[in-house]
């Protein structure tokens, strides 16, 4: 399963040929089509669903139910840094959304980013940050992470990813720290 994801990540949807997918999974085409009768499209859909659920439990839910907002955003930053391997690993959802092959998965892509932003907003609001700046900051951070991936990949420079992500982290902590502690 994660082998499929890695092929799509590295080669994109069009570039991920069945032979690559077959080789990466160690399964023959027969097996692949047994599990995914819908072919490549269904494989991608399954991979996206897998990613979605991983983010939902690891990233989104903790943010949404955070008791300690500062700790929640710190742990998000850590998880994201580990997940994207400091920018060496690409965000499949963001990637697919860029070219026309992603039109098929538009709803899923949109909801992935929408929920990420809304989870972050919710976390900031828990910390007492008013809605309007919270929305701005959340949007900026999620966008900033995607930008960091693009730039780090292009420059082949992991350190750049870490620097940018660190700055997003500071932005979040500053916003939280500025607010009077709320007793939920």
């Amino acid at each position: 399963m994660s082998a499929l994801a890695e092929v799509f990540r590295e080669h994109g949807y069009e570039g991920a040929s069945l032979s690559l997918l077959s080789k990466a999974t160690g399964l023959g085409k027969g097996s692949l089509y047994n599990f995914f009768p819908g072919g490549k499209e269904e494989m991608m859909e399954a991979v996206l669903a897998d990613i979605d659920s991983w983010f939902a439990t690891t990233i989104f839910a903790p943010l949404e139910q955070a008791q300690d907002p500062a700790a929640a955003v710190t742990s998000m930053i850590e998880d994201v840094t580990a997940y994207f391997r400091s920018g060496r690993r690409v965000c499949l959802v963001g990637c697919i959304g860029l070219n026309s092959s992603g039109a098929t998965f538009a709803i899923r892509i949109r909801s992935y980013f929408a929920r990420w932003i809304s989870a972050l907003v919710q976390c900031l609001e828990t910390a007492g940050v008013p809605t309007s700046p919270a929305e701005q900051i959340a949007e900026e951070v999620v966008s900033g992470i995607q930008g960091a991936i693009v730039l780090a990949r292009a420059l082949g420079d992991d350190a750049a990813f870490l620097r940018i992500i660190h700055r997003q982290h500071s932005t979040l902590l500053d916003a939280i720290a500025r607010m009077p502690p709320q007793s939920a």
Copy 2:
């Protein structure tokens, strides 16, 4: 020429088939291979060179030779917003760098971003911003633009692109305004 670029932008390198390229340009395969004997790779190389030169004259050079840094960054923001069509249009250089097909063009991709950042640093330094924060800000802004494209595309929301870019603009102007005006 720009027709080729648009196909690569929209479908990626792998997804841009010769039939698509042929249809987009109105030229037959024979003509295409007459101009680009190296095939698809040479076409992409030419497109990247074209983009590179456009950015060099329109974006990079004005930043590097800016007399009025504030005006220079403002005009950069305007040009970039127009060029990327408020996030509807994708950054081909950033895109290609994400998946493995971009390995062939790694040097060109790297130098595109490196020069963009260095041009921005130079502009900020002209305004009297010390090197260290200038590098941080430049990196953040270039990365932020890429992130804005990814997010706006994913959400199908031009307004998000404009909001994020506006914030990057403010960051640049703030950094410049904080410094005592320098007489070059």
